[in-house]
């Protein structure tokens, strides 16, 4: 039986919910309102809430000064493109983990893994020292680390699926700034700086763990029976994934994609560091309004509103899917 709440309690809870909701929404609301103020009004103290002279001059100037459409185009292309490519990688990966997991009864994987990595690093270092003339710069360090990951890759390919999943998740735990310099230098040398392909690749790699994890949890909900029936019906692996798995997992794939697109749209670390003008998305657009002369609140608000408007609208129309995706697994 549903628990009955007294009317008074319900009113109080509803009021509290509204207050909290408005509090959380307030910064966005304020930004939106400020974008219609003149710069002077934007700085006014006490702050003016609704009663000021509404103007569109900020939007005009923002569009004059910088090419909003190019930034918007980059954001769209990068967010959607990187994640669509990611989907083509993540779906088979998640399939493999959900329906054909490698279960090897192996204990103490981590210890062996660390031992192998250290051995590989030591071997690489010794080799370089023996060869002599080693310039201990980023290339050498990078190569040593790359060699050290080889045993990791070998182990991952032959060990438990749960370990692979954990390892993927762990790559998201490291702060990106830790590898900013090596990645920047690599991108520079590979001519990937300020290129949509470069930053797109970065976004793809960042989102892959999330895509695979979420798709994995969705795929686990699909009864294996149905896939086996498809096999008995003569479907090859490709056909099984294409004609049976994907249509059944469409809600899951949709929520995963939405989340990934939103995350990519808002990604403001690598997009700022690896792009300048050609491939710069809307995050760089907003950042460019933090001028050395000071912050132009009104124009900044206009730029911000323009930057978040598309994704906010997308999120509004797909909120049911988003909620489903984010609370997935909480209730069986």
């Amino acid at each position: 039986m549903a628990r009955r709440q007294s009317t008074g309690k319900r009113i109080a809870v509803t009021a509290l919910a509204w207050v909290v909701g408005l509090l959380i929404f307030f910064p966005i609301l304020w930004t939106f309102l400020t974008s219609f103020k003149s710069e002077l009004d934007a700085f006014a103290y006490p702050p003016k809430f609704l009663f000021f002279h509404w103007t569109l001059e900020n939007y005009v100037e923002v569009q004059d000064r910088s090419n909003y459409l190019l930034f918007a185009y980059n954001s769209i292309v990068l967010s959607i493109g990187a994640n669509v490519v990611g989907l083509f990688i993540a779906v088979p990966a998640a399939w493999s983990m959900a329906f054909a997991p490698t279960v090897v009864p192996e204990r103490s994987l981590t210890r062996k893994l660390y031992a192998m990595m250290l051995a590989a690093i030591a071997a690489a270092a010794i080799l370089l020292w023996l060869v002599g003339e080693a310039r201990w710069d980023w290339r050498v360090y990078g190569s040593v680390v790359a060699v050290a990951t080889l045993p990791v890759i070998y182990w991952i390919m032959t060990r438990r699926t749960t370990d692979v999943l954990m390892w993927m998740l762990s790559t998201k735990m490291m702060p990106g700034v830790g590898v900013l310099v090596p990645i920047f230098l690599w991108f520079r040398d590979l001519h990937l700086l300020d290129a949509r392909f470069g930053i797109g690749l970065m976004l793809l790699l960042m989102n892959l763990p999330i895509l695979i994890w979420m798709l994995y949890t969705y795929f686990k909900e699909i009864p294996v029976d149905i896939l086996e029936a498809a096999r008995m019906d003569g479907a090859s692996l490709m056909n099984e994934i294409l004609h049976v798995l994907t249509p059944m997992a469409v809600p899951g794939i949709a929520s995963t994609m939405l989340l990934a697109i939103i995350l990519s749209w808002n990604e403001a670390f690598w997009t700022l560091n690896l792009t300048t003008h050609d491939a710069a998305p809307l995050t760089a657009f907003i950042a460019s309004y933090s001028a050395p002369e000071g912050l132009f609140w009104a124009k900044l608000s206009a730029a911000s509103t323009l930057a978040i408007a598309p994704i906010l609208i997308l999120g509004w129309f797909s909120q049911k899917q988003l909620v489903r995706g984010l609370t997935f697994g909480a209730v069986k």
Partner: protein, 333 residues
């Protein structure tokens, strides 16, 4: 042609051995039923034949050809799953036609064959519905239709009637039997329900803990069980098993008498027993009695018998139907 042979089939999941060396031959056109208690390996054996699991050792042959290394898609078998496993996003038409689409048949051919299968199973009116709009029995028929349309070498049924209610189960049992008579294709049927086994099979394979206990026709297993396990498994209610002096008297460690093969009298008989529970079904009467000499007894009487709990009865087993088992549980001829 659809003969299936298993040679020395073994299956282990890690260190746990689930199938321990099974040798079996199922002839073309037979209706073979794998029956046994939960966990005996009957579903695993079916999946090994289907190709959905790999063997640890041994061989599976279809029409004399070794298909052990062949994938499920190419073995030419069709399977009906316990949960029906219909494609929820496709209509009935799509479900039945999927296999044909995978085989690359022309749309006209697919339409024709789907129509034929649907007509056989009375599904023509439901062709455009989705599985969630169908009842259990209809879904079952779609699953069967999906299998029929492929014209396979053999049908594999994995406890297909478990999810249906009793009345529907009886009806579907008859329909599957009629299907077998019409198509004359080999069918392998897995069930834990020995009534289904007895009524549908022409060959029953009784399994326990991954090994074949006995293979034979239903009546063979009923009349000549080769051991205590098969004797207790086949027949409902279970055979009465008696140890001790009454068994030794007849030259055996255990004797068995089925509930329907004992005569009951209120005046005289071999074993005296007090009735604890009397079940009146109208068509039969089941008496559950306790005897000091032979222990608990279950007797089946045809029709209505005016016997109540607390009454004393005298039970005499019919000599011709008495089964004798030695101390290893094996049948003494």
């Amino acid at each position: 042609m659809g003969s299936i042979e298993l040679k020395g089939v073994r299956k282990a999941f890690g260190t746990v051995s689930v199938i321990n060396g099974v040798d079996l031959k199922i002839e073309d056109g037979e209706f073979a039923v794998f029956v046994g208690p939960s966990g005996c390996g009957k579903s695993t054996l079916l999946r090994l034949i289907a190709g959905l699991e790999d063997l640890t050792s041994g061989a599976v042959l279809i029409n004399g050809q070794d298909v052990t290394a062949v994938g499920p898609a190419k073995r030419g078998l069709a399977m009906v799953f316990q949960s029906y496993a219909l494609y929820p996003h496709m209509s009935v038409r799509g479900n039945i036609g999927f296999a044909l689409k995978m085989a690359g048949e022309k749309p006209g051919e697919v339409e024709r064959k789907v129509g034929k299968a649907a007509a056989t199973l009375n599904l023509t009116d439901y062709l455009d519905r989705k599985p969630r709009q169908l009842s259990g029995g209809q879904r079952q028929r779609v699953a069967i239709g999906r299998a029929i349309v492929r014209e396979p070498k053999a049908f594999l049924f994995d406890e297909p009637l478990s999810n249906l209610d009793a009345a529907l189960r009886v009806q579907m049992r008859v329909e599957i039997g009629e299907l077998h008579n019409a198509l004359k294709t080999t069918m392998i049927y897995v069930t834990h329900d020995q009534v289904e086994a007895m009524t549908m099979a022409n060959k029953i394979v009784v399994l326990d803990k991954g090994s074949v206990m006995q293979v034979g026709s239903p009546l063979e297993l009923y009349n000549k069980p080769n051991g205590l396990f098969v004797a207790s498994f086949i027949g409902s209610p279970t055979m009465n098993l008696i140890r001790g002096e009454p068994a030794a008297k007849r030259g055996a460690a255990t004797i068995g008498i089925r509930p329907e093969h004992a005569d009951v009298s209120t005046t005289a008989g071999e074993w005296r027993a007090a009735v604890r529970v009397a079940e009146h079904l109208g068509s039969d009467t089941f008496l559950h009695a306790e005897s000091e000499t032979v222990g608990p007894l279950t007797i089946r009487l045809a029709g209505e018998a005016p016997i109540a709990p607390g009454d004393t009865i005298f039970v005499t087993p019919r000599q011709a139907h008495l089964h004798r088992f030695d101390q290893d549980g094996r049948r003494i001829a």
